[in-house]
Symmetry: C2
Subunit: 207 residues, 2 copies
Amino acid sequence: MRAQKIPETSIVRLSMYSRYLGRLVQRGIITISSGGIAEGVGGSPAQVRKDLAYFGEFGTRGVGYNVKDLHRHILKILGLTNEWPVVLVGAGNLGTALCLYRGFFERGFRIVGVFDSDPIKIGQLLGEQEILPLEKLGEIIKEEEARIGIIAVPGDYAQETANKLISFGIKAILNFAPQAINVPDDVELRNIDLGVNLEVLTFKLTV
Amino acid sequence: MRAQKIPETSIVRLSMYSRYLGRLVQRGIITISSGGIAEGVGGSPAQVRKDLAYFGEFGTRGVGYNVKDLHRHILKILGLTNEWPVVLVGAGNLGTALCLYRGFFERGFRIVGVFDSDPIKIGQLLGEQEILPLEKLGEIIKEEEARIGIIAVPGDYAQETANKLISFGIKAILNFAPQAINVPDDVELRNIDLGVNLEVLTFKLTV
């Protein structure tokens, strides 16, 4: 029920707050105001308070938030106190970049399998991961209890890759292929088209 | 003024509509309804009509939209009837993937320079691009009249890279570094944190 009520933009901002708070923890900062958080991530204090209010009462009027407590609490809200095994399909340039992306690892995401259909790539190493044939997908998903899949295949193969992941029990998909895909209602999906981001910029430059 | 009034989410959807319409053009489809577009991209007909209405009257009641005209019109709105020279700083895995990402090229984005500070990388080829030293950044931006810069450097170097790009006249930045940056008001910025996308998924899986 909670997921329906909270806008996705708030979740994205929570994720940003938690990164900022993580840095403050490292620097030994004890308390911070909503204004301080807003300044750190580039937002407004009212927005920070509203985002946090979705999840209950934090902070003390006039004192602010305890940095460590708030950090831990947001990580918990985001599900980041668990480790998340993730499978990645597509070992091209983008797949390679994603597989080696430290940001995932630092936040508790662990790539437990990288898959490709290209016989030349199969058996090669990406970091510590050996590239596996697609035939192993179901086995690894089951063994590692992965619920998240990343798609980094060419557009034409995106939908069939998604179907395969879902048939093996994947419940959330991050799709980097330049092609929108469809998934059943009980599967979470984010389509990431890197080109769209540039186009928001050119729209603004064109105005 | 237009940019202030139109929500960014609508621009993102326009970008998606244009991709879908482009495929319909290739398949020789002449007209389409708002319902058809909505189905093609995974949205609602009312949303499609609302997004398009920001930019004037399209389509004929009972007939729908002319696919070719609407496609061309949206590309124009997005600024994609021009070619956009883009500079890319950071030739690591992500930079490499971005440099070779066909989706950019297909939509009129042309990478005119790839830059890195690592002496080992300088002089190597990424596709047809030779990796250049950072010292050449200003020269290439000027020569190619680039107004868009992509940052794919480690987080600790993101802000100084942005400052450099801006000092050389860049007006829009796509930041892939896992660190938020600040830019002056007259510079457009999109921070892309690939981890945030996974965290929206884990939030939903955690609920």
